[in-house]
Amino acid sequence: MVLEIYLDLFSQPCRSVYIFAKKNNIQFDHKKIVLFDGEQYNEEYGRINVLRKLPAIRDGDFCLAESVAILMYLAEKFHSPDHWYPADLQKRARVNEYLSWQHTAIRMTAAKILWLKLLIPKAMEVDVPKDKMDSAIEYLNGALHQFEEKFLQDRPFIVGDQISLADLVAVVEIIQPLGAGLDVFENRPKLRAWKDRVREAVGAELFDEAHQDILSCQEIVETMDRNKFDVMKPKIVKYFLS
């Protein structure tokens, strides 16, 4: 039975898993779950991941959630080149350090931008107070500053000379605000240069393919049925605007 990977490429952690699997020629059945249609709440998907989140994998009887865990599992199982998740104790620790820090520092702050700048005002037609938006951008700026000062510094990639899981997980999150029209790379030449190196290391075609949906998010939202978000609206408003 072939590996199944449950994905929606609007989702940052889905993109890192997708890119990793494709780049490493891992055979898989791409199972599409459309988040905007609430498909993660289907009964069938509940049997794959009771947390109702993406990505998830099913490898025979084994179901696994959480992109960081999935990436580590795939890297090990499919014996991907060492640089992705180095065997060296200190190099691996550096990858683990980034993968841990990023959950609340980068992922949360960058994800918020898409919601506050695009999805909540445009798709849900709910006003976002200016101070919330300003605060969110301030936090993101702080996180990106720390990313450059601590995790990049003068290195080509986070752990050194070669791309690792850390860079992959970082790039998909950092790109997310672009979906709302916020160019995080503007006035950040170091960050832009790193992103370009990651794109090249992954392969431009694969990288662009994975990011097609998110980068056309603004257009997609224009034509989106406003009722789509009715069910999740109260939860989203509570989470982002309270």
Binding site: L64, Y73, Q90, A93, T104, Q146
Partner: protein, 242 residues
């Protein structure tokens, strides 16, 4: 040169690292960082970590932040018993899955309740508005429900028969609100039984030593009263929760 661990045992991730080092007999020098005095923002600590958080590990020249990465590093370097971070692919994936989910799945909510009940009222002089408090408690309840239904189920420990890093990281987070007088274990027999098993595996002495300060968190209000809170810290804390 001995291993240095920069810790404040009010902090959940510090307790996980402290207990792990103690119970696996890894010798280390305890370097105290007083969070209530804002020591993490001082010049000296800045030379250790610009991320300004604890715990931090210093192993010779090698400095590592993020408790998850530190635990993984110590387990590998000191070849601790396999059950802590199993070599088996599937078992390890289950540990990684928990360690990834918990950042925003549990840690965020337990922390928030701790801050709202034990710290913010002392710092600002006023209790947290009921709506905010209720919301935080609701999130924590959902979180603990997910923990029991997905991560524990009918197993003795998170990944099965034996304790792992997952349980260690989970126990310190579930204990955090308890220090403020909110017994999360009351009315939760499955969670309580798991807590008892974990405490037994860790050893009551090490467990109690690690949890002494957080269980006496009302001492914190006295500390603030006698020593005062640095203004910059007060501002930072108030801003965090607005």
């Amino acid at each position: 040169m001995p291993l240095e661990l920069y810790l404040d045992l009010h902090s959940q991730p510090c307790r996980a690292v402290f207990m792990f080092a103690k119970l696996t007999a890894i010798p280390f020098e305890y370097k105290s960082v007083d969070l209530s005095a804002g020591e993490q923002f001082g010049e000296e600590f800045g030379t250790v970590s610009i991320l300004r958080k604890v715990p931090v590990l210093k192993d010779g020249d090698f400095i590592l932040t993020e408790s998850i990465a530190i635990l993984q590093y110590l387990a590998a370097k000191h070849r601790t018993p396999d059950h802590w971070y199993p070599a088996d692919l599937v078992k390890r994936a289950r540990v990684n899955e928990y360690l990834s989910w918990q950042h925003t799945g549990l840690r965020a909510h337990g922390s928030r309740v701790f801050w709202f009940r034990g710290v913010l009222p002392v710092v600002t002089g006023t209790p947290v508005p009921k709506e905010k408090m209720d919301s935080a408690l609701e999130d924590l309840n959902m979180s603990l429900k997910t923990f029991e239904e997905k991560f524990l189920q009918d197993r003795p420990f998170i990944i099965g028969e034996k304790i792992s890093l997952a349980d260690l990281v989970a126990i310190v987070e579930t204990m955090q609100p308890v220090g403020t007088g909110l017994d999360v274990f009351e009315g939760r027999p499955i969670l309580s039984a798991w807590r008892d098993r974990v405490k037994k595996e860790i050893g009551a002495e090490v467990f109690d030593e690690a949890h002494k300060v957080v269980m006496n968190v009302d001492v914190l209000s006295q500390t603030f009263e006698t020593k005062g809170i640095p203004e910059f810290l007060k501002l930072r804390i108030t801003k965090m929760f607005n």
